[in-house]
């Protein structure tokens, strides 16, 4: 036993792998699509975006325009949304001490969706030509809906009494989700003129994204990341149970509220720009737990990086797999995520509370 013991933190190798994954996903996402560009040239053009760098990439002006005007904002938005959804999933899983928690399964995304729908159909009737130029009130409405939904799910899940299995909370989330979706459908039926807009947004899309959407979501992303990452050690302490965490000097409920609010803020921001993209918060954190271990100090930052890379690659798949017709990205993540969810369900049943 000569091993030098050190706490389970973020190993540099994992950090490097995460950064590499983001870079690779970004280059691929930029290079491929309806027009394919040489990845080497794309990488050079990206370097050219840095101040003071002037290199020849061999791309034509038109190709550079496609790259920087169309693809880059879309890829960046994909990176942000993926990072937020994965981080929110990991944060919910830690805060609820529930491996199945996820922005969508908790009903948070539906709550945010209802908020967005309400703004579209009730408020911004002028912006009938889609969501280009996301109304500034949308993320706020989404956040209100998200907080309302997570509160409802939590209360319903707790109504089952002390004998709470991970599935109880998720069942509550499913009920809340169904209820909120019904409210959303009702709202849409009353405002049929907005149905097309809302559905194209709801299925999950990064396609109408411009830099505007990136700028709308960026402040929320920063706030969410800062709050959640600052709590990563506290999340590890929470794993030992509330009473034990309290005996270690933590205020478990305060940490939990803070994390849930931050994760809901991130979810709301992601949903308001990209619609309902499911399962990212399940797939990414669980894969990382298998690879890098359960410690939140490694898990949370890696979720940000790998969540970003994952969604950028998924978007690439959504753009290219269906030929000319783009597949909604929410459909792709659901195809990947549903079987994965079954896997998590089967393996997590052995971990009793």
């Amino acid at each position: 036993m000569t091993e030098r013991r050190r706490p389970a933190g973020l190993r540099p190798a994992w950090l490097a792998a995460g950064v590499l994954a983001v870079l690779v996903a970004t280059i691929l996402g930029l290079a491929f699509g309806s027009v394919s560009l040489p990845p080497g040239g794309v990488a050079v053009e990206m370097l050219n975006l840095l101040p003071g760098v002037r290199l020849t990439s061999g791309l034509s002006d038109r190709e550079v325009a496609i790259l920087t005007q169309l693809r880059l904002p879309r890829v960046v938005l994909g990176l942000l949304v993926g990072a937020l959804l994965a981080l929110a999933g990991a944060a919910y899983q830690g805060a609820f001490r529930n491996p199945l928690a996820d922005p969508h399964l908790l009903g948070v995304a539906s709550g945010a969706g209802l908020g967005v729908t309400a703004v579209i159909v009730l408020g911004a009737s002028g912006a009938a030509d889609g969501l280009t130029g996301l109304p500034i009130g949308v993320p706020a409405a989404a956040f209100a809906g998200a907080i309302g939904a997570v509160t409802l799910t939590w209360l319903l899940g707790a109504a089952g009494g002390r004998d709470r299995s991970p599935a109880t909370l998720i069942l509550a989330g499913v009920a809340v989700s169904a209820f909120l979706s019904a409210a959303q459908t009702y709202l849409l039926q009353r405002h049929l003129e907005s149905v097309r807009d809302v559905y194209s947004w709801m299925l999950g899309r990064l396609s109408t994204a411009g830099w505007h959407d990136v700028l709308v979501v960026l402040p929320y992303a920063v706030v969410t990341c800062v709050i959640v990452l600052a709590q990563r050690r506290e999340l590890d302490v929470l794993t030992v149970g509330d009473a034990e965490a309290a005996s270690l000097g933590l205020h478990p409920q305060r940490v939990r509220y803070l994390l849930i609010v931050a994760a809901s803020l991130g979810t709301a921001a992601a949903v308001s720009v990209s619609g309902l993209i499911g399962f990212v918060g399940i797939i990414v954190p669980h894969t990382l737990r298998l690879l890098a271990g359960p410690g939140n100090r490694a898990l949370l930052p890696l979720s940000v990086l790998l969540g970003a890379a994952f969604l950028a690659l998924t978007d690439l798949l959504a753009r290219t797999a269906g030929g000319d017709a783009e597949i909604p990205i929410g459909v792709v993540t659901a195809f990947l995520g549903a079987p994965f969810f079954v896997l998590v369900l089967r393996t997590s049943r052995t971990a009793p509370e």
Binding site: P7, T239, V240, G241, A243, E244, A246, S247, G249, G293
Partner: protein, 266 residues
């Protein structure tokens, strides 16, 4: 390791006056008075539902309570959470075992009250965790996953986490209830050894009366949330006391380290 100031012998480590606890409106602990001297081992016994665990949690500052609880002369209500965690370490009955966590990382969580917000473990924290592992003969397990350990090994890990907290007072809620008789003895011997080598004060709740009597300096018998008997094990573990409060006929056999209690059929 302990951060308790040099104490005059016989000073009181834990003082409890008129402790009352209500859970969901029901009175569970009803006016309990209790003292534990510095370095003493006091065990709370009582039938199921007597309020032992609830009282222990309240004394540990983990539940809202009425009355006064003082640790080393300071009222718990006046202390900050982190301050409390440096003064008293609590091992609850069957703690949650986080899936996948390594023994070393789990023990290191005991250093939480010393790590500033946004900070990370200092070299002293790592050393304290190492030392706690060594004290409980857990060094070979440091890199193992906690959820792969046996019940006795886990209980030692929980104790190591408490020990790493560097607190002078140790509260143990049913520390041996999940263990077979051999591991019960092993764990209690370890606690007793740590108590004498580090001057720890131990307040425990226990189920097994004979075992409880063998390790405790003094015992407190709770029934219906009240103290009905207190004193040395031979004063508390009497046929009359147990018949009245446990509704059981027992025979008391004098043992080397305290009375041995045997239930007999009526």
């Amino acid at each position: 390791m302990t951060n308790s100031e040099p104490d005059s012998p016989g000073r009181t480590a834990v003082e409890v006056e008129r402790l009352t606890v209500r859970l969901d409106g029901t009175l569970i602990v009803d006016g309990v008075d209790l003292d534990v001297a510095e370095g003493e081992w006091v065990t709370v016994i009582g039938p199921n539902g007597a309020g032992k665990s609830t009282a222990l949690r309240a004394i540990g500052g983990l539940l809202p309570f009425g009355g006064t609880v003082r640790w080393h002369g300071r009222a718990v209500a006046d202390m900050h959470r982190r301050e409390r965690a440096r003064a008293v370490a609590t091992v609850l009955q069957s703690p949650v075992v986080p899936p996948g966590v390594r023994v070393f990382d789990y023990v290191l969580l005991g250093r939480t009250p010393y790590i500033p917000p946004l900070g990370r473990e200092s070299a002293a924290d790592l050393e304290a965790a190492d030392e706690a592992l060594a004290a409980l003969d857990l060094v070979p397990f440091a890199g193992r996953r906690l959820d792969t350990l046996s019940g006795g090994e886990r209980q030692r890990v929980f104790l190591a986490r408490a020990l790493a907290q560097g607190a002078g007072i140790l509260l143990l809620d049913e520390p041996t209830s999940a263990l077979d008789i051999g591991h019960q003895q092993e764990v209690l011997e370890l606690v007793d050894r740590l108590r004498s080598s580090r001057g720890l004060t131990v307040l425990a709740t226990m189920h097994d009366l004979s075992t409880a009597g063998e390790y405790a300096d003094r015992m407190v018998l709770l029934s219906g949330g009240r103290v009905v008997a207190a004193g040395t094990p031979s004063e508390v573990l009497t046929e009359e006391n147990l018949a009245e409060h446990y509704r059981v006929k027992v025979r008391i056999i004098p043992g080397d380290h305290g009375p041995l209690v045997v239930a007999v059929r009526t």
